[in-house]
Symmetry: D2
């Protein structure tokens, strides 16, 4: 055996860090430093319910497979129930001496039922246990997020229906492009939320394989029934490979990626709220509930909630990068690096849940100023495309030629400081003789919007159809 001998404790380390120049928080001795870096109980205590559920399922299976006696099984069951009660009541003392949630539960179980507690860990390991716990937690988090995204869609659909005919400018490059309806705009977010739900759903489906029974990494020689524990915990099946089962954190990365993208969607909406609330736009107002005042500028009604939602993308992108960094280049199977999976997951879930709640609140809360929206839709030559399309459709010009003619008309209007509809027919005909007085029909924002009846287009009737279809698809 060629193993190098472990080092003895250095005296000065045992004494708590002897270097007087270096004091403060680094003065701790090795044991204290190790405890601080190694203990995860402050983070993973959130997994307590999942840990108990997993232990109970494991216990039941061990009894059914005659690996554990019914008596020991009953004691363990009783003990776990007691621990659950204690935690729910807030009486349980989590201790970082017992480093993680698994050891905290097992240590208390030993207090409560004695040596039988030591039989629970037969044919399992913390490696399969923690993977199971985190999957169960994420599954529930996904279910909560799905509900929240569904509610986000519901409030968007309600408002979109009510605003299906509210004309506002549609923007590209934040320049006024063409008139759209506010309802149509809101429906874009229904689609985004729908894809978010799809991604979380796919993640849930893919993660729903049970690691339990993989043991440390190699499986076990005990005659366990992995299908039974999988079923008891609501998994679709046991994970197929024990090495993979304990070292896989794909589900967490996939969750974080879906969360980052959902957060990006919220950031886009938040940016719009911030811009729309600004004095120059004034398209919407938020109530005091979602704004704050200023310590020095008494008049301010700041859209803090929207800004914070926008900023949460930082936390979400950071959490994703954190875990992708952690798993890079890790050899199989379990490494302690994987303990760093939980903080990003918990933080991202909390950030997204909160961001969604705030966004839902703002969607319900915001009051559109329809007059200002309509007024803005009449500016910026927003119906120039309608003019060009008229030239194609009615006058038969090739699109590119119609496009050029329209550009010259807009230049003329700009030079005269007028809107398109305010240009005399003679001015229009000077650029393109084929134009007739019928052109004025298409230069009105309402007519423009009403004409865009193509599937997915902004015409109010189309928007109402889209609302109905989305209700059926997403809320049905």
């Amino acid at each position: 055996m060629t193993r190098a001998k472990p080092a003895p404790q250095h005296a000065d380390q045992a004494a708590g860090g002897a270097n007087p120049q270096w004091g403060g928080r680094f003065a701790a001795g090795p044991a204290e430093i190790m405890r601080r870096i190694n203990a995860s109980i402050d983070v993973d205590r959130r997994l307590w319910a999942e840990d108990i559920a997993g232990s109970q399922a494991h216990c039941d299976m061990l009894v059914a497979q005659h690996i554990l006696s019914p008596e020991d099984g009953a004691a363990i069951t009783r003990g776990l129930a007691q621990i659950r009660t204690e935690i729910e009541a807030g009486h349980f003392v989590f201790s970082d001496v017992n480093e993680d949630i698994h050891m905290n539960v097992e240590a208390r179980l030993a207090d409560l039922i004695g040596p039988a507690a030591g039989r629970l860990h037969t044919a399992r390991s913390r490696n399969d246990q923690v993977a199971t716990d985190l999957k169960l937690w994420l599954r529930a988090a996904i279910d909560r997020l799905d509900s929240a995204l569904r509610e986000f869609q519901r409030v968007l659909l309600d408002r979109a229906e009510a605003e299906a005919g509210t004309v506002m400018p549609g923007f590209t490059h934040l320049q006024i492009a063409q008139p759209v309806t506010f309802g149509h705009h809101l429906m874009a977010y229904v689609e985004m939320a729908g894809r978010d739900r799809g991604r979380f759903g796919d993640c849930r489906r893919r993660l729903n394989e049970s690691p339990l029974g993989a043991a440390a990494l190699a499986g076990t020689s005990f005659p366990i029934d992995r299908a039974a524990t999988a079923a008891a915990l609501g998994f679709d099946r046991p994970a197929a490979n024990s090495l993979d089962a304990v070292s896989d954190r794909d589900f967490a990365v996939e969750f974080l990626a879906a969360a980052a993208l959902a957060g990006a969607h919220l950031s886009r909406f938040a940016e719009e709220i911030v811009i729309w609330c600004s004095d120059a736009y004034g398209f919407i107002a938020l109530s005091d509930a979602f704004t704050t005042g200023s310590s020095i500028m008494p008049q301010k009604r700041n859209p803090d909630a929207a800004e914070l939602v926008r900023a949460k993308t930082g936390r979400l992108n950071g959490a994703l990068v954190a875990l992708l960094t952690v798993i890079k280049g890790l050899p199989l199977a379990y490494g302690k690096d994987l303990q760093e999976d939980k903080a990003p997951v918990f933080e991202a879930a909390a950030a997204l849940e909160l961001g969604l709640a705030a966004t839902i609140g703002m969607v319900r809360d915001l009051q559109p100023d329809r007059a200002r929206m309509r007024e803005a839709a009449g500016r910026g030559y927003a119906t120039a495309t309608d003019l060009a399309d008229w030239l194609v459709r009615v006058a038969g010009l090739p699109f590119r030629q119609a496009h050029h003619a329209t550009g010259r008309i807009v230049q003329r209007a700009e030079a005269l400081g007028r809107g398109l509809a305010e240009l005399p027919l003679a001015e229009l005909q000077q650029v393109e003789p084929a134009i007739t007085a019928a052109i004025y029909d298409v230069l009105d924002p309402e007519r423009s919007v009403n004409s865009r009846t193509s599937l997915g287009g902004t015409a109010p009737e189309r928007v109402r159809m889209a609302v109905a279809a989305a209700r059926k698809k997403y809320l049905g």
Copy 2:
């Protein structure tokens, strides 16, 4: 009209940058700088085939809907075919005067067929066009990656079957934990690749909605048939909301996230190859085909391919962060920021394809040194768990008690500089009197491996069953 007047050209700018101290590449005038930052043709020329296919489908639909005359349609079709031929032959001159792939194709079409070319852009916009192109490109990239991942699984399965009985140490924390089989270890990557294929497949399914017909952002007043273009291009349906259709890059982010995770899997395997190839391990050898020599150390056979695969995670994570950063806080609908979607997508796809090809090559190429693997599996007290399990199963000790007894036996063995199987029975019984000579049966790595017959476990028979199941599931 309150628009601020556009600025006149500054004389010194028109002269090409007047500041003599600041020369070099910054000396360019505004037009040149704008051309350089704005032109995307160097990047998006890769979309040429998709752009032509999209235009053809749009043209056919316009004719079918009587928006375009059959004659114009035929001319456009002829022109597009000609352009395709020119590009395939390498004769096409891409020009950044025509800034992007769409304008390059349209400009050439105008050369070839005259003004009718100008009718092709009726009822569409570059905004829906580029989204369509990129989706088509990504769909094909996903199909290529799915083939590559399938091939990765195939070569892993072949080798796993051949090595189902090859004993090696299983590691946790890179410490020898328990004996496993090399086949079992390889099968873990089959599972990872299976999930990767699942994620890419979900991404493909979700992206497969056609943006075409969303036009600039609002839909169109022309009587187009979006279902027809969607079907012609192999999309499942048209995208439901035109604002969303032109501003959505979810599909690219989702692709990049799936690619980053697939790359992380490859990095784990690459790390193992690097470690296994090192002199101290010597578990495998790569041929000259996948190693390189040194300019200064003639004896080196460096696993460069594995290191480069491992490093590609950098590019993949970076690409994901790049696009997530770009879309943060973008108001609807299209913004030019979205032009920065293509470089990360193309680079990530290329990095992952190359990384997969190299990994597949290495899996086929590597030669295991079974003797060294087996020898290592006999070290490090790898069967200590088997001893503990025996104490539970045969001697009836609670797991925790068995665990403690085993720990003391290992300490004793370390102190004596012996392996577990080399300890006399008396030594063992001194720690735990319940031990009998039957214990030696479980201290052998082969027996250990053979005993782990739980579902997903490392027993050779289990590995062969897993190979058969995976062949059916993934290659069937």
Copy 3:
């Protein structure tokens, strides 16, 4: 010797990939795949000038130290000069058979001068060579960026001086907060660029230690003079540790971090340009040089350059993440992973240089609409703070009480639909009896701005002092 035997070539691999199902770009045999993943010449050819300079310095030192004969030294010098000429003239054929820039140069040198070329690599390695090349390249890139940032400051200072008295609304939360001057606003970016220059300068100073002579990793037994090559290449000193010298990429990460932050600054300015150019704000106009039209909306003047500058943060953040990911967990010394350092560095440098050039162009180009800025500064109760400060300063109220009184006055003004200056004195006194007619003096935006004379404040005289100080500090 226990090394595992290298694998023989598989017949099917030698045949170029035998699997017919898997064709396409994966059909390449191992040699081809290895060439593709291993060759870096497409990327690192940009280092040609640095590579030649490094070789020349090394050659000169070898001659001076009598390690190389003067004749061989002269031949090498002649050959390197010839290669430089060939590359500058565009006649040099870069080949990926010679995998990287070092081997391309050395191979051509052997063509030109025969076996003496083989003496150049004495006492060095590609490991120290490539680190030297990249440091030299980055040093020059930093110098270019410093010039560009200085020019950015110069154009900002010129405009800030001209607009020192231009009143505009200052925003917090994109809500109108207090009047500021446009010059004061622009000066904020002078500070940011100043810090950027500081960071790049620190990076340059820290990187300026020569790796040359570290050889592969351990130094060399030849009597080299590292101080001489360091001096010849403009380094401050040789790097102190040979293992560190070849495995260190701190300088590249530090560069990328500085670039990402500089890019973030540009993104903030770009966002402001996009918002200010929008119809609702209309604070500035960009000329046609920095805007583009629309393929479907003829009237658009899109701020594409600003959007692209904003989007470059994606590329910059991605490049930083890429390299941080690459170096995570790399054991010493050189690993091939480090080859993935160059693409992010080159791409980030190019993105930032281009973003700076475009931003400088926009600063010179933009035309402020002073009337709209002034008009906006009069809205949104922007002088409410001045009212509150008056109550503190003149009426002696505690700030918090003044703040509350002001809030009630703003509410009253909102209810009446008036600005603060339009409220009758009686209304004001109803809220706070201490108010006198003198209050109206501070409710005027110009007076407000003029009063903010604290150091760094927005008063025009302060802004002009700041411009003068900054000129001296940054351009002096």
Copy 4:
């Protein structure tokens, strides 16, 4: 005044979320959601000492400038001292009703001293206050980290000196390359830590400008003395531009970038520890203090601390990405997005401090197995470069020719299963006739190491010189 009217509270929202399907944590009404997303006290309470210090300096200056009466100043001073005492004693009740640390302190001050508390906020804003607090906190964190990095260097230097003659293999690509000394290897990390200290020091120097007095964004009309508050708080000078002062978070990004890179260095060392601790290498052993056992594998001594240090790069990279994402595209001046700066900063500082403490502990704790190191240095043809260099130096071959001859000799040795020093002279001469028996002198690892006397090289004497120079430079 065109501002849209704020929305009335929805009845169902006021009732706490009426949607029964959506219950749980989303059931909260808007006020509760806003409180949850807006309150930062749970995070920013860590700034209490800095907040009080900043308030005291502001108070003193207001008195000195006759803006505040001496009596009010004395009351505020007394109140702040009382609050400091309460917090230190753990009696202070932080409340999220008072949303942040500033309002918590101010509210308590009002309790303690009455209306005079309301005068403290004269001529300042939470915007300049929070920037000041965070800078002060970071400055102290940097000082702590500098001490820790210095201590890291100190323990490395002590061990490097002791191991200056300990021969081990130097690796490139994790392949044995050339013999080096363990001391030389450790010294590489002294250089890395030195650069880290340099970066943190530059960050500290650059951040050390006082935001105080920038007020909300525009400066103030009160006759404040910014130089006085700057000096009182240890800043070098006031920040030059008030808009920049309140919206700048460069210092936090720069800190996070320096932390990420320092973390990357630790991850490299951690990876080496993990590899060196593995059974196959056995170069070092860690004591029980820095390893943990296994719940299922009693024999394991897992290098958990090293793995956790390696994994902290995830948190550090994530924190950097988080803040870079947050600041992207933020218009000036302050936006609430900036509130998301503190969590990444606090988390990164804690992760790096802990990672450093654990690494320092491991450096002190690890016991090298010099015999195994030396044995490994004799394997892998580690002295092949010495052979090649001998051919150049003694036999006068061009390096490339010597390199090729050496390669053939290594092949021959591999084929014969021998080390280089075990090859008979005849074998060597068959490849290269110029070889004499003197060659064997350079094939010994000790001689190899001793010969590498170039500056920065691995020769023990050089390492000792490097240790002495580094002590002077870094610890002097």
